[in-house]
């Protein structure tokens, strides 16, 4: 017998996914090269291995794709809702059938643990398609009039933290309501969207209904600016969101923006402590903290601060960081070298401003982009780490004395995407939740998602809602 219970590596097999050496753009049902022949490489963040070479869409390609979507819109929007539903149900089922392949692919391209892609991302992706498939023939009962009409061509730009899930959030409601789509995945994670293009073909989706244009920011800008795009949907950074808002201002384009956050996770002294610790961990270390609704500000009632911090530190010491394809890995790689550098500089700033930094003993792999789970204590509202979105596995801990102070501190942010409340007292949950200015307020849980539940922000966290019945509105002429 060995002296300790060391878990042997349990890697998920890579052989379930076949990544081609190169991929084109997906326009009008065909894979095609970029008009100017440009390509870029996508790498695996955990190893820096080049996974594939992907065509990089330019303005001319955007024009082709929007044109294809415009032509497809005529027939697609005229289909009975029940017909559109059939395609969406088919896509949902194919996603389920190919979920292992897609989970491995997403882990390779994004760096997040297979545990998360397998158990969180993929089930939610399929659920979103199933959910909106169900709405496609019931739009008259959604509360937007008896016969709400689609908007036309949706230009959609998605981030790299949940590549396939964000695609599902965007494409499923757009198609269910009769719109056609041109989607730009992030430059660091284009592969799952290209696999989705293949799924569209497998499902027999009519040509041009879904178009995928991998590329950088310039591709997204060209898409947003295209005069024949009727609806812009963007998830990503607040800075880019503001630029988009300026760009579409004065046009007739409808726009939804889902931007940054600095979610407050409020723990009262009567909270279920062990579960609160789990919720704090889920809140900030899920997907390495690269979650716009992460609970990155922990607000703890002063009376339990020391006890809770002890528990939290002990718990962080059990997190397993490493190969994201290992089924036992809790913390994977940071998505890119740029993001890693940004996290690093904000953390240095936190230390320089006098916050106390702590990480569990943690060995980082030599290749790839890694950042150890990190806590900052002695943080005040004046610290940068309490104000700026870090988008990494970094938690800032603040304290409060009364519920009013908790609410005031939680709301004292330019963002407003999510918040959490931990208490055994039901009346306090309701009272505090009503005062929090955030799109989602979780109580005694965190980072739970469901296609039936609308999601979106207050203030600089954006506007519009995705998911649920509310998510239909963004794609209907109401």
């Amino acid at each position: 017998m060995a002296s300790a219970f060391e878990y042997a590596p349990a890697p998920e097999s890579r052989s379930v996914v076949d990544i081609a050496p190169s991929y084109g753009l997906f326009i009008d049902g065909e894979f095609t090269e970029a008009a100017d022949g440009r390509v870029f490489k996508t790498v695996s963040p955990s190893t820096e291995e080049v996974l594939s070479e992907v065509a990089r869409a330019g303005a001319e390609d955007v024009d082709r794709a929007v044109g294809a979507a415009r032509r497809a819109f005529v027939k697609w929007s005229a289909l009975p809702g029940s017909e559109r539903a059939k395609y969406l149900f088919r896509i949902a089922r194919i996603i389920q059938e190919r979920s292992r392949e897609l989970a491995v692919l997403e882990t390779l391209d994004n760096g997040k643990p297979i545990k998360e892609t397998r158990d969180a991302d993929l089930p939610l992706v399929a659920a979103h398609f199933f959910y909106y498939a169900g709405w496609a023939d019931k739009l008259g009962h959604a509360g937007f009039g008896t016969d709400p009409r689609p908007l036309g061509v949706a230009g959609q730009v998605i981030p790299w933290n949940f590549p396939l899930l964000m695609l599902a959030w965007k494409i499923a409601p757009a198609l269910a309501t009769g719109n056609t789509v041109v989607l730009k995945p992030a430059e660091t994670t284009p592969l799952s969207a290209l696999f989705f293009a293949d799924i569209c073909r497998q499902a027999g989706l009519p040509r041009g209904v879904v178009n995928i244009l991998p590329g950088y920011g310039d591709t997204g800008a060209a898409l947003v600016a295209h005069p024949d795009v009727n609806k812009v949907a963007f998830t990503g950074s607040t800075a880019v969101g503001k630029a988009i808002a300026r760009q579409v201002a004065g046009t007739r384009k409808k726009v939804t923006l889902e931007l940054g956050g600095k979610g407050a996770n409020i723990v009262f002294d009567d909270a279920p402590i062990d579960q609160a610790v789990e919720g704090i961990v889920t809140g900030i270390f899920f997907n390495q903290g690269q979650v716009c609704c992460a609970g990155s500000r922990l607000l703890v009632q002063e009376s339990i601060h020391d006890e809770l911090l002890d528990s939290l530190k002990r718990r962080l010491s059990t997190l397993r960081l490493g190969d994201p394809l290992d089924k036992n890995t809790d913390i994977g790689a940071i998505n890119s070298a740029e993001q890693l550098a940004r996290i690093g500089s904000l953390v240095e700033q936190g230390e320089a401003e006098g916050a106390e930094r702590w990480s569990p003993a943690c060995e980082l792999p030599s290749a790839g982009y890694w950042f150890a789970p990190t806590l900052f204590t002695n943080v005040t509202q004046a610290h940068t780490v309490a104000r700026d979105e870090i988008f990494g596995p970094v938690l800032s801990v603040l304290t409060f004395r009364t519920p009013d102070e908790a609410v005031a501190k939680a709301n004292n942010t330019q963002y407003g995407l999510s918040a959490g409340i931990w208490t055994e007292k039901g009346s306090r949950i309701l009272a505090v939740a009503n005062k929090l200015r955030a799109g989602v307020v979780w109580s005694n849980t965190f980072n739970k998602f469901d296609p039936t539940s609308p999601f979106g922000g207050y203030k600089e966290s954006g506007h519009g809602r995705e998911g649920g019945r509310h998510g239909l509105e963004a794609y209907l002429d109401v």
Binding site: E6, A8, P9, A271, T318, N328, E424, N444, T445
Partner: protein, 319 residues
């Protein structure tokens, strides 16, 4: 809550001064969120334990089994067979570890002692009017003394669930203290029958009550009711022993019992121990499985790892 061991110990002797102070203490423990607790237990259940880790876990689990027979129909022959199996679980492979103990009714203790003599396998006895616990304290104590006199190394007592559920915590506490005293040098496992306590808050309170009264082990259940050991209630009890040691410096063992039948399940429990209470509890001095059918599955999985092939029920002994 106090954080230093000395002030904590002092505070904890005060809490048992009266029914009122004990109630206030137990009801002041942090609550348990059902959804969160079960989600955590389920998520630890997805740990993938393979190859060397699996081989280690199987041998560890075998060494933690309290091989149990608690039937009205128990005979000396049956108990001797059980004892032989505890000493040599796998007749085809003498490298298999012995189990921790055999667990029998008090009248079978002497037989069991003789069967495992010299092997290091302990004899545990359920006493205190097991499994219902519905008898006068004198009767329960006599039951315990009987088992101890016959040579029991460990006593598994049931608490008075009726007293607990009606809020008479001090009565439960006093009974455990009395049984502990009657147990003498034998280690005391306190069984809560978690299925009858019904709520997780109650299970946490019972855990602390048992530990305050001097339990050496806290144990989920008798195996005689519908709901026995579950990953969630065991996780909760592991949190309790972890917190109790942090506050008092006293380490208490945990024994899930009933319903753990497969290697896969047993390994999940070991993961719970490893990631909740920690490696200090990963020995049979601090963690046990109360099980009768688990052992054969562990042995078959062990043979599978050794030979690369599945054997079958005829390659392990029926008792």
């Amino acid at each position: 809550m106090p954080t230093t061991a000395s002030s904590a110990a002092h505070a904890l002797t005060d809490v048992t001064a009266s029914d009122g102070s004990l109630r206030r203490f137990l009801h002041g423990l942090p609550g348990v969120d059902t959804v969160g607790l079960e989600a955590r237990a389920a998520s630890l259940g997805t740990r993938s334990i393979k190859t060397t880790a699996k081989a280690y876990a199987i041998d560890l689990a075998i060494s933690m089994v309290d091989l149990t027979t608690l039937e009205g129909a128990d005979t000396p022959g049956k108990v001797r067979a059980l004892g032989a199996k505890a000493v040599h679980p796998d007749p085809t492979d003498r490298t298999a570890p012995t189990t921790a103990a055999v667990c029998v009714y008090p009248d079978m203790v002497a037989t069991a002692k003789a069967a495992v003599a010299g092997s290091g396998v302990l004899v545990a006895s359920v006493a205190t009017a097991f499994p219902a616990g519905r008898a006068a304290l004198d009767v329960k104590l006599a039951d315990v003394r009987d088992a101890v006199a016959a040579g029991a190394d460990e006593i598994d007592m049931v608490i008075d669930r009726g007293a607990f559920l009606s809020g008479r915590y001090l009565k439960v506490y006093d009974e455990i203290v009395a049984v502990k005293e009657a147990s003498g040098a034998a280690r005391l496992k306190v069984i809560f029958e978690t299925g009858e306590l019904s709520t997780y808050d109650n299970i946490r309170r019972a855990s602390w009550l048992g530990m305050l009264a001097g339990a050496d082990f806290i144990k989920t259940s008798t195996g005689k009711v519908a709901v026995n050991a579950t990953p969630a209630n065991t996780l909760l009890m592991l949190e309790a022993v972890r917190d109790f040691r942090a506050q008092t410096g006293v380490q208490v063992g945990v024994k899930p019992a009933g319903g753990i039948r497969t290697t896969k399940d047993a390994v999940k429990f070991l993961v719970l121990v490893n990631e909740t209470a920690g490696a200090d509890w990963l020995t049979n001095h601090w963690f046990r499985f109360g099980a009768s059918s688990l052992l054969n599955d562990l042995l078959m999985q062990r043979q599978k790892l050794a030979t690369g092939r599945y054997s079958g029920p005829d390659y392990v002994t029926v008792d």
